[in-house]
């Protein structure tokens, strides 16, 4: 059964001007841009987890912030439940926020240091006028317990600095979930948490998903984590999506050379495993002046002439499996 499309992103683009002072711009005469996200498209279906995977600086975080409308896209479309939300403002945007929430990577910075846990969790309710007084408090208690901050009463009055990273991340989850959103963008939610506690956060997120039929866009640099949590996976490289498909397909039959390299580079906790080698040159180039054609071609061992001139578009190679590469 095909599920309903919850979020659709079409040719989304975000260029950031390189920060310069007014006079510097005047003198240098040209404005340079960081091409953070360059015309990406994908779909996320209701109740599924879409894993967006890429190395640092590939634009995955920007994509997350674009989807949640924290920053304005340069071009393209964001369609949420059939409605174009790309440029909505004001009340409509605030309404949109009830349905789409975000969890940030850094739990140490995403909470107001001067706000107690209870206040922070209750704040979305106040903002949207959902509940006040005792009812609000009750909802907050319930939510805190749900994310495992027990006893809720104790945590209610604490300040963020009195909490550990894992606990803070749970507060962030509670705050995002208290509005009963439909789509949650999770931007590397476990990367700053101790290894032994990561699984707990993942488990919590999966539990909430099942319970509320949530849709996740899960942003991570770790393919293993993505594999664990996602239904779909999109691989990003230098602002572009190079491969997209169902989890099983990506891991069993990766097409793009970059995906292949990523897969073999990931360490596995098994010393007996046969060590593979990857043929990949150099490091990720700057996104201010990205390579022409296929952005991966300077590092690709299969690169042909064509690759440096012509940008490959996403092509279907299998059912639900797309890749942007001239090899296919």
């Amino acid at each position: 059964m095909e599920r309903k499309v919850e979020l659709k992103v079409v040719n989304l683009k975000k260029y950031f001007p390189v920060q310069k002072s007014f006079l510097e711009r005047l003198l240098s005469g040209k404005i340079e841009y960081v091409q953070a996200v360059n015309r990406i498209s994908f779909e996320v279906r209701r109740g599924e987890v879409f894993g967006l995977v890429g190395e640092s600086g590939c634009g995955k975080t920007t994509t997350g912030r674009l989807i949640t409308r924290l920053i304005e896209p340069t071009e393209g479309k964001i369609i949420f439940k059939g409605e174009d939300v790309t440029f909505i403002q004001g009340e409509r945007l605030r309404e949109f926020r009830k349905y789409v929430q975000i969890i940030f990577q850094n739990p140490y910075a995403s909470l107001n240091p001067r706000m107690r846990i209870g206040e922070a969790t209750a704040h979305p309710l106040e903002i949207h006028g959902i509940a006040t007084g005792e009812r609000k408090k009750k909802m907050v208690f319930e939510m805190l317990e749900k994310v495992g901050l027990e006893p809720a009463k104790k945590f209610y009055d604490l300040y963020p600095f009195e909490l550990s990273g894992g606990q803070r991340q749970r507060v962030a989850i509670a705050r995002a979930m208290i509005l009963n959103p439909e789509l949650v963008v999770a931007d590397e939610p476990i990367s700053m948490i101790d290894v032994s506690l990561r699984a707990k956060i993942l488990e919590l997120m999966l539990m909430l998903k099942e319970e509320r039929n949530l849709t996740y866009v899960f942003i991570t640099h770790d393919l293993a984590v993505a594999k664990y949590i996602s239904d779909w996976i999109g691989i990003m490289y230098l602002g572009e999506i190079v491969e997209i498909g169902r989890k099983e397909q990506i891991f069993s039959t990766p097409y793009h050379p970059y995906t292949k390299a990523l897969l073999s580079a990931i360490p596995v906790p098994d010393p007996k495993r046969e060590k593979k080698d990857i043929k990949l040159k150099g490091e990720v180039p700057s996104s201010i002046n990205p390579p022409s054609g296929c952005r991966f071609h300077p590092r690709c061992s299969f690169a042909k002439d064509k690759c440096s001139n012509l940008k490959p578009s996403l092509k279907m190679v299998d059912k639900d499996h797309y890749v942007a590469c001239h090899l296919y």
Partner: protein
């Protein structure tokens, strides 16, 4: 090198609105609160004479026009003439007094840097121990010292009770060396005039100690914090781990890196040096810019005061520019 030039030009361009604004502030304050005409005419002038002078000085125009007139005049490099006494050109008043201030400032600056960096290094390398606390306290106390008070105390001790050092003036009677740079110490050295040299140094000791001690605390603190910060950096750990000797690690690696923020602060603190110089000059009857400014303010010599402020603003900006350029020069990470 061409890029460095572009960088300097860019910095200069940024500095222009700064001067403009400062000048504006001072100009308006002085025009709104004071009346330059009475300053020229002294006590009792008939109305028509006041009108005549106003006409002559363009003071009957709206204030904004006056401001633009003044700016135009500045652009031609003309600071105007003093309103009082000889009505000398402001620029020559400034040149008469500036070398004294420069000489004092340089000496005080050297004292403060030497003392400050020395104590800062000791504090940082003894982190958490006695010398650290002691020099931190030194930093705090010196910053709170009131210049005239230190000055007076030094005058009392060395000038009055011990009687070993002069408490005012720049040099002994008729000992002025030939003017080359206007800095007596330098000039007397250049002309090999030992008598003048010693006299000039003797006169310099107390004022530059006063100002130097006051400023040194800031450098103690700065050196300490930045050195501690740098000493905790990985590259210092890495230097230790490579077995480099202590002197190399502290001076070559740590201090040089710590010096970059200190340099920036030096640029910022330069204003403080000028402030300190004003008070020191007045305490020690040092015939410099501070004394001139103070004297002319009491006489309401608007053009001179304005001129001095423009001059100070130019110095402040030049120094910050210089600091930026030096900064860019020593730190390869800066891309112009």
């Amino acid at each position: 090198m061409a890029s460095l030039r572009v960088y300097v030009i860019r910095r200069v361009l940024v500095a222009i609105p700064m001067i403009f604004i400062l000048l504006g502030i001072v100009f308006f304050i002085m025009r709104v609160v004071g009346d330059p005409v009475s300053a020229i005419l002294g006590g009792h002038a008939p109305q028509e004479q006041i009108e005549r002078i106003k006409e002559q000085l363009g003071l009957n125009k709206p204030i904004l026009f006056q401001f633009f007139d003044y700016l135009g005049q500045l652009l031609r490099g003309d600071l105007g003439r003093s309103l009082i006494w000889g009505q000398r050109p402001v620029i020559s008043e400034i040149w008469d007094h500036f070398p004294a201030t420069l000489e004092l400032s340089i000496c005080a600056f050297l004292v403060s840097i030497l003392v400050g960096i020395f104590t800062g290094i000791i504090a940082a390398t003894n982190f958490g121990r006695f010398f650290d606390h002691a020099f931190r306290l030194y930093g705090i106390i010196t910053y709170g010292l009131f210049i005239p008070w230190i000055g007076i105390m030094l005058q009392l001790i060395f000038g009055v009770y011990l009687g070993v050092l002069p408490i005012g003036g720049r040099i002994g009677t008729l000992m002025e060396p030939e003017t080359i740079t206007g800095l007596y110490v330098l000039d007397s050295l250049l002309t090999l005039n030992m008598e003048s040299f010693i006299s000039a140094i003797r006169h310099l000791i107390l004022p530059s100690l006063t100002l130097g001690i006051y400023l040194s605390g800031i450098y103690t603190r700065l050196t300490r914090t930045h050195l501690i910060e740098v000493l905790n950096k990985d590259f210092i750990k890495s230097a230790w781990a490579r077995g480099l000797p202590k002197r190399t690690v502290i001076f070559k690696h740590a201090l040089k890196n710590a010096f970059i923020p200190i340099l920036t602060m030096m640029g910022l603190q330069f204003a403080l040096l000028l402030v300190g110089a004003v008070l020191t000059e007045i305490t020690f009857s040092w015939p410099g810019m501070g004394t001139l400014l103070f004297e002319r303010i009491t006489y309401r010599d608007f053009t001179t005061v304005q001129g001095i402020i423009v001059f100070f603003a130019l110095i402040v900006i030049t120094v910050s520019l210089l600091v930026d350029v030096i900064y860019a020069y020593i730190d390869p990470r800066i891309r112009y």
